[in-house]
């Protein structure tokens, strides 16, 4: 936000002799400063309330993770733990093989993010910058894919994975074995690319000036180098945004990994957290301890990519 004013611009003009501001000018400036201070204070107060509102659930999660069952039963509930029960963390981690689950979630989220950043950016670039016959139809198809509910895709996707030819003992017709089920293929490939990522990348590439491309072509660059060396470095906010959203989606994925695997060695963090939510009741202390740990990678990732992430959201108009 610019802070310069017409009056300040006038006094700093080089062709005017320096002069002391008159008393009325000083009064005006002080009044403006006071107004600006009041406006900023109000804005900061508003933002402070907003930030506090958003951070309270997060703090509540952390404090709940440090309370005993007896304290959790109190009404009215306490905000600060009366007794900081740090042992909730090791006990929660002992309730399921979380070291395996964390590893698996990380592998899957990292793979999905890498695949998305490479292929979705290529697809988005092609749809935005390369004219070819049927481009609009393909784009409309991708937009249409955004409207398909996840649940309606689960069974068809499961069958594709199950009958994948030449995998898991299947023959060329996909019969006789288990296909990709209970393997890393099933966990990584089906969720590797999303229509929303392609859509976002297209929108980012569309916003870049055509002159860059024309100059690059005059310099003799091929299509791939224009994509990789000219345009893609300019969409870092898009890379950060799509990368973070993809990582977050994969990290929080629960149903698909549960469906396509039978082995604990392939299960993910969210499956581990489900152990604390049984039909008979929820172990809130342990659940919040596990959830707190599960959010750490996302928080770290956001802190590192914060600058680009905010830019990306502002540019794409997403929330």
């Amino acid at each position: 936000m610019s802070t310069s004013t017409p009056a300040m611009a006038a006094t700093s003009a080089p062709d005017l002799p320096p002069s002391r501001p008159s008393a009325s000018n000083r009064r005006d400036r002080r009044a403006r400063d006071r107004r600006r201070f009041a406006t900023r204070s109000l804005l900061n107060l508003f933002l402070l309330v907003g930030a506090f509102t958003m951070i309270v659930p997060f703090l509540w999660m952390i404090f709940t993770s440090l309370k005993s069952p007896a304290e959790l039963a109190l009404f009215p509930p306490t905000f600060w733990p009366q007794e900081w029960r740090w042992e909730n963390y090791p006990e929660a981690l002992a309730a399921a093989p979380f070291h395996i689950y964390f590893r698996n979630s990380f592998i899957i989220a990292f793979s999905h993010t890498a695949i998305t950043l490479v292929f979705a950016s290529m697809a988005g670039y092609a749809l935005a910058r390369i004219p070819f016959r049927g481009r609009e139809w393909i784009f409309m198809g991708i937009v249409a894919m955004l409207m398909i509910p996840t649940y309606s895709k689960i069974v068809p996707q499961f069958l594709i994975v199950r009958f994948m030819p030449l995998f898991g003992g299947n023959d060329i017709l996909g019969q006789g074995g288990t296909g990709w089920l209970n393997s890393w293929w099933a966990l990584i490939i089906p969720g590797g690319l999303s229509a929303s990522a392609i859509f976002l990348f297209r929108q980012f590439y569309l916003s870049l000036p055509k002159e860059l491309e024309e100059a690059a072509r005059l310099d003799g660059l091929g299509e791939y180098r224009i994509f990789a060396q000219i345009y893609t470095p300019l969409v870092k906010p898009a890379l950060a945004t799509v990368g973070l959203l993809t990582f977050q989606d994969s990290w929080n994925n629960f149903l698909w990994p549960l469906l396509v695997t039978t082995s604990d060695n392939l299960r993910v963090i969210q499956v581990g957290l489900a152990v604390f939510q049984q039909l008979e009741g929820t172990a809130w202390g342990y659940l919040m301890a596990g959830t707190t740990l599960a959010t750490v990678p996302m928080v770290l990732l956001f802190l590192f990519c914060q600058k680009y992430f905010v830019q990306g959201f502002a540019n794409a108009g997403i929330k």
Binding site: L74, D264, A274, V275
Partner: protein
């Protein structure tokens, strides 16, 4: 660790375990032998087990380090691969398994689920394949529990554990209000609930006299409905009857408690509350799950002596039961091994261990005398009253119907519809599902 139990662990099972297994296998199956007519040494194969219980480190340790080694003692040529899931995702897991043709050899599922899967030919008929009869099973289980595993006069599943919903009173709070007994009729329940409800000067509810929000509304409604003498469906499960006069009266009773008597406000508590309000004094009475006792052990041991379970006093004593049952896939490549595992998991020692791990109610009548049951007031009360317990389910379309019940009850409680309108709409949808 979970997917395949190492055979090396089998050596850990001792003589005691083998003895327990033998006794268990003899008891649970009546005359039917494990694995059909084959001798244990002749039963073999790699089989899969899909289970929504035994999850987590504790559950897996119980199943893989204690129970399965006992099973392998008797069936050394059988190996079991376990697929752990949760009840929340069990339906999706089964649906995709059926769609893909990769159906687990042994499946555990809830009360009310058996009919639908049996009707579609997914479950093995244990009456035909293993010789189970209703009469044999009724020697070991209450009749309505046996019926929960049957479809069209045949046995398809064996009960392992039950979970119940009953009325529970905080006798210390009742005593403060001058009551020394739990309600003996709906009228008295209403009168006591009103007397026990407390609001502050601004009218904010401080304590509900009768909590119906901490339990799933469907199951809470059914608990009350059963006590009115009503049943969910007609005898051959071709028509819903929950919009009968008994059903409307039940729902009107709940609506009046909330909207006329102000006994409980919508949102006062919920199934996701950090603790049941009976444990922190925010409820004087309520409908609760039997796990309330284990929750109290952890969170509020001081109130345990004041918790008094009671059947809902209506035309008949009202108590709801659900549970977990074990069944065999009709298309199993190793049906005898699958039957043997099913029978083993339902045997007294294995079932008792599973129930103890989760704080649930054993289905086998003989386990009433076990130390676990005698040491858990809620479980003991449930087992002593299993003869009056009623279950949900009946038609094969139950899984489709049950999801609509809670919204109908909510619509009535929120006064968007009258109880009659809500239940009529619900019944129409249920009839359509049954007719499909």
């Amino acid at each position: 660790m979970s997917s395949r139990t190492s055979r090396t662990r089998r050596g850990a099972a001792g003589l005691t375990a083998a003895l327990a297994l033998t006794l268990g296998a003899c008891s649970a199956g009546g005359d039917a032998g494990g694995g059909g007519d084959a001798a244990p040494g002749e039963v073999s194969g790699d089989i899969t087990l899909l289970t929504p219980i035994y999850e987590g480190t504790e559950g897996q340790r119980l199943l893989e380090d204690e129970l399965l080694p006992q099973f392998y003692e008797q069936y050394p040529d059988v190996t079991v691969t376990v697929d752990y899931t949760t009840y929340g995702q069990l339906n999706e897991k089964l649906t995709t398994a059926v769609a893909s043709g990769l159906i687990p050899d042994v499946m555990m599922m809830g009360v009310g689920w058996i009919e639908g899967f049996a009707d579609r030919g997914i479950l093995a008929n244990l009456s035909e394949d293993a010789g189970y009869t209703q009469a044999d099973l009724e020697e070991d289980y209450a009749p309505q529990i046996v019926e929960a595993g049957m479809w069209e006069e045949s046995v398809y599943a064996l009960p392992i554990m039950l979970d119940t919903r009953v009325g529970v009173a905080r006798m210390d709070l009742l005593a403060e209000a001058g009551y020394d007994h739990t309600p003996t009729s709906w009228e008295e329940l209403r009168e006591m609930a009103i007397a026990l409800t407390e609001r502050d000067a601004s009218g904010t509810l401080q304590r509900t006299g009768f909590d119906i929000m901490s339990t799933d509304l469907r199951q809470g409604f059914e608990t009350m409905f059963f006590s009115s003498g009503g049943s969910l469906f007609n005898e051959d499960f071709t028509e819903p009857t929950f919009n009968s006069p008994e059903g409307v009266e039940t729902l009107q009773f709940l609506v009046d408690l909330v909207n006329t008597d102000g006994v409980e406000d919508i949102g006062f508590t919920s199934t996701d509350a950090e603790v049941n309000p009976l444990l922190n004094g925010r409820a004087a009475m309520g409908i609760a799950h039997n796990s309330l006792w284990t929750q109290a052990e952890e969170a509020a041991p001081d109130v345990m002596e004041h918790l008094q379970p009671f059947t809902i006093p209506g035309e008949v004593p009202g108590m709801f039961f659900g549970g977990t049952m074990a069944s065999v896939a009709a298309g199993s490549d190793h049906p005898e091994a699958a039957q043997a595992l099913t029978e083993f998991l339902a045997s007294p020692d294995a079932a008792l261990a599973a129930n103890e791990q989760r704080g649930n109610v054993p289905a086998l009548t003989e386990l009433l005398d076990s130390d676990y049951v005698q040491g858990n007031v809620m479980v003991q009360f449930a087992m002593e009253n299993l003869d009056v317990a009623q279950r949900e389910g009946g038609p094969p379309a139950w899984l489709e119907i049950r999801g609509d019940i809670k919204p109908a009850i909510e619509a009535a409680l929120l006064q968007q519809q009258t109880p009659q309108e809500a239940l009529d709409t619900l019944a129409a949808g249920a009839q359509a599902a049954i007719d499909r």
